[in-house]
């Protein structure tokens, strides 16, 4: 077994991990190490060859690989070492990491750890889609890998379940590659993708969108032969008599992402059941001191720029921890209230400026978002429109929460 000692170990070399590593280095951590399971740095963005990344960060719309290259360049400039094809198998409370690599099993003792493992896709199994189990059912991200990285044609006549961003992007991608996208099917009465993707990926290519619909059966013994769609009621149950069978050879699933927190759970870190990510304080620190989390492993983001920003923050906090700088304990608990799905971080000190990240439960217009403590709104902001697909960020200034003990973030009609 090989052993190493580092100041900050970064688990994952995608957008969150690279930002965290660069930031840790810039903030004084001497010895930073990125551990990446893939054969390149960049993570999932390597297969996202469409444009639209980096508008917030760089003011231009880059492709996924272009966006990542800017961070990879900084990793190289800062001479931050990284391991590729290396998988973290285990993380302990004492911040000892066990890594499998072709060079051997490596034990890494880290002063601070940043979790940046990203997320995985929800599968057919998890949404319990009835029917047979033929070939030709793909998650959208797996299909994107096959098409963009390997050049495979995954099918000719495609139905897509889920109008999340990956589903929408893949609808366009498949059409451009010459496949026929027959339908995009969405369970909710609204799309769960970004508005710009609705326009650029579906509308511009005349791809029909079925809202309040789902796939009720997959047909085909060896390969998908057809799927049955049905309209759903307000409890998402299929309405009898609304079934429609569509002949196709492929079903693509874009039905949600799940933060990949098996390492986190096995380490004994407390996980929020709603976000699926670690519970953190305003220093991005999890329930185990010295272990931090950011990016999609913490909560699923809509835009990669925010992942990078979160990584930047977590990297700085981890560097400071590794340098033994004053640590702050969270004292104010933050909870989602009516209309709010989740809010991060879950613990604040009230003594620092902090950025809250949150998502709403359903779309609404002209709303008031309030931070309420004992019935009193400590802070209120107005939003002309909110959408579950879009993450909302609220800047809270030092002192705004003075005297608060427990904040409930609520959504109210603003009029």
């Amino acid at each position: 077994m090989i052993t190493k000692t580092v100041d900050v170990a970064i688990v994952g070399g995608g957008p969150a991990g690279l930002s965290a590593a660069i930031s840790a280095k810039k903030n004084g951590a001497g010895n930073v190490l990125i551990i990446e399971r893939g054969e390149n740095l960049g993570g999932i963005l390597n297969q996202c060859i469409h444009e639209g990344f980096g508008i917030e960060t760089f003011g231009e719309a880059l492709s996924g690989p272009e966006y990542m290259q800017r961070f990879i360049d900084q990793v190289e400039e800062n001479k931050i070492p990284y391991l590729l094809n290396s998988m973290v198998l285990e993380i302990t409370r004492e911040r000892k990491l066990l890594v499998a690599s072709r060079e051997g099993l490596i034990e890494i003792n880290a002063k601070a750890v940043v979790l940046c493992m990203g997320c995985r896709e929800r599968t057919r199994g998890q949404i319990c889609t009835p029917g047979t189990r033929p070939a030709g059912v793909y998650t959208a991200g797996a299909a994107q890998n096959f098409i963009n990285l390997k050049g495979y044609r995954i099918g000719e006549k495609v139905v897509i379940l889920g109008s999340g961003d990956i589903g929408l992007i893949m609808a366009r991608r498949l059409t451009v590659e010459g496949a026929k996208v027959l339908a995009v099917v969405e369970l909710m009465p609204y799309s769960s993708g970004l508005p710009r993707n609705m326009v650029q990926c579906l509308h511009d290519y005349d791809i029909p969108l079925y809202l309040s619909h789902t796939v009720t059966e997959i047909h085909g013994k060896k390969r998908v032969e057809a799927v049955t769609l049905a309209q759903v009621d307000e409890r998402f149950k299929p309405i009898p008599g609304t079934e429609k069978k569509i002949d196709c050879d492929t079903l693509l699933l874009s039905v949600g992402l799940i933060p990949e927190n098996e390492l986190t759970r096995n380490a004994g870190i407390a996980v929020d059941e709603i976000t699926g990510g670690a519970i953190i304080d305003e220093r991005m620190q999890t329930s185990i001191p010295g272990i931090f989390a950011c990016g999609n492993v913490l909560h699923v983001h809509d835009v990669v720029d925010y992942v990078s920003m979160e990584g930047d923050k977590a990297g700085k906090d981890a560097a400071e921890y590794s340098l033994g700088k004053a640590k702050m304990e969270g004292a104010i608990r933050v909870k989602p209230g009516p209309g709010v799905r989740y809010v991060l971080p879950q613990l604040l000190s009230g003594e620092e400026d902090v950025l809250l990240s949150m998502r709403v439960i359903s779309p609404a217009r002209n709303v008031k978002i309030s931070l309420i403590d004992k019935g009193r709104a400590a802070k209120t902001i107005m939003k002309p429109r909110v959408n579950p697909a879009e993450m909302i960020q609220i800047k809270v200034k030092k002192g705004e929460l003075a005297g608060c003990k427990e904040i409930t973030v609520t959504l109210q009609n603003g009029k």
Partner: protein, 488 residues
């Protein structure tokens, strides 16, 4: 030229593979003909994976005898073949007062059949054995065990192959002609002649029998659906947990069974089908499976389901029939040399080692004796499971072969070396199914989303596999409709 064999076994399920392997202990030429791209694709791979103690089967039947015999043979059988076998035990749990009686009835049947160590336990002891299970009284069977039915069937077929049997995959028997000195078998993959034919075709055994004019049997396919839960819920139960089955339904009731790989399965249901090939899941049953399991084990949630599947029982009795049907296992009187194995549903997996012994005795009798094959080697090495090893063992393996250091399937921690070993199987079965059942890649919580592309990359690297040959489980289940030129 038609290849001639002494014995042809039709059907690569656990029973057919066990028979073929048993026959390689003798100086015989043996063929195993399987219509699918690999073994265990039918009933044998689609069940609870339990070696039953033998208290459900009616006393005095062939089912009871073979169950008890098979269960006793199973630990050594699995060990010899390198197959995971765990004696986790089982409880049949009464939740209501009026269910208590059934437990004593089962215990009585079991003891008459020859089951060992059965005992009735009270609520307190249930809590001790299974802290998360609600029940007022239970029958505890400590010898009931779980095994990997895929790996068992695969190990039997591969061991048969190593000992000289000819395992023909992708071979659908289409016609059988009775000749003076045996049988002529016509298939979509060559024609064969054989002195003896063993019909171990499971769901299609009635149709195979009919090919030689035996029209005495009809298989009634009865589907059972299952859910598989995420491994992170494995510790909710210790052993298998069964209910007192609802009176109106056949079967054992929807139960919770751990797998040797560390998941929990919920199921199965029981529903008769018109055709034996509809391996589907229905929303009604999927919902019912979850709800009934949830009553037993309130700590599970729908989010824990990673996959659903179904299997089909080859029953000899139609829906609603109360008459118990025994296994059919005999040389046809009408067609000498043609041995029928029909209606081999549960406990067929448990009974497989004993069935193989009996069938080889039949072959011996037909041929008037068998000479032993001195070169027979019964041992199959157990597969290396990197994920289950200690740090020191992991480290040593990587130092020996760096491909153990490259994790391909992240959910199940399966390494490149394990994938290569799975692909290099002696049957040359190279579908995604073949890889996954041998090394467990793709079977975790992401269901192959991340590792399937990597497995295909390894296939291309090692075998230069053509795009049209990449399939999930044989011809027709191709993953792709083409590939762009010039992409790496």
């Amino acid at each position: 030229m038609e290849t001639r064999f002494d014995v042809a076994v039709i059907g690569g399920g656990v029973v057919g593979c066990a028979i073929a392997r048993e026959l390689t202990k003798y100086k015989l030429t043996v063929a195993l003909l399987e219509k699918e791209c690999d073994v265990a694709l039918g009933t044998s791979g689609r069940n609870s994976g339990v070696s039953h103690a033998g208290f459900y089967v009616p006393t005095g039947t062939l089912k009871a005898k073979l169950n008890i015999e098979g269960h006793e043979m199973m630990p050594a059988f699995c060990k010899e073949l390198g197959v995971p076998y765990l004696p986790v035990g089982k409880i049949v749990t009464a939740k209501e007062e009026d269910e208590r009686e059934y437990l004593y009835k089962l215990k009585g049947i079991g003891e008459k059949n020859g089951c060992k160590k059965l005992r009735i336990i009270d609520e307190k002891e249930i809590k001790k054995l299974e802290p998360n299970i609600k029940g007022i009284e239970a029958l505890h069977s400590p010898t009931t065990s779980i095994l990997d039915p895929f790996l068992l069937t695969i190990a039997l077929a591969e061991n048969a192959h190593r000992n000289g049997a000819c395992v023909r995959l992708n071979t659908l028997v289409q016609e059988i002609e009775q000749k003076k000195d045996g049988f002529r078998i016509v298939s979509n993959n060559g024609n064969y002649t054989s002195g003896i034919v063993i019909n171990s075709a499971g769901l299609y055994s009635d149709k195979i029998a009919a090919m030689v004019g035996i029209n005495d049997y009809k298989i009634f396919p009865c589907r059972g659906e299952y859910h598989i839960l995420d491994k992170n819920k494995r510790n909710l139960i210790n052993g298998a947990v069964y209910p007192v089955p609802p009176k109106e339904l056949g079967g054992l009731g929807i139960h919770l069974t751990p797998t040797t790989d560390g998941n929990i399965m919920l199921g199965p249901s029981a529903e008769y089908l018109p055709e034996p090939d509809d391996y589907g899941n229905t929303s009604e049953v999927m919902d019912k499976l979850f709800m009934e399991s949830f009553e037993f084990l309130p700590k599970i949630s729908r989010k824990d389901i990673i996959k659903s599947f179904s299997g089909i029982r080859p029953k000899l009795i139609p829906s609603g029939s109360k008459a118990p049907a025994d296994f059919v296992m005999e040389e046809s009187r009408k067609v000498p040399g043609f041995i029928n194995l029909i209606g081999i549903e549960s406990p067929g997996l448990t009974g497989a080692p004993a069935i193989a012994k009996r069938v080889s005795a039949m072959v011996k009798e037909i041929r008037g004796g068998l000479a032993e094959n001195g070169a027979f080697d019964p041992v199959e090495k157990s597969k290396i499971r990197f994920a289950e090893l200690s740090h020191r063992e992991k480290s040593e393996l990587i130092n020996k072969d760096p491909n153990y250091g490259l994790v391909i399937c992240r959910c199940q921690t399966v390494t490149k070396k394990e994938v290569i070993d799975a692909l290099n199987n002696p049957l040359s079965a190279r579908s995604i199914y073949s890889v996954s059942k041998r090394c467990r890649a793709t079977l975790g919580r992401c269901q192959g989303g991340f590792c399937t592309p990597k497995i295909i990359e390894i296939m291309e690297e090692l075998y230069h596999t053509k795009t049209s040959d990449i399939n999930y489980a044989g011809k027709g289940s191709e993953l792709f409709t083409g590939k762009k030129e010039g992409v790496e």
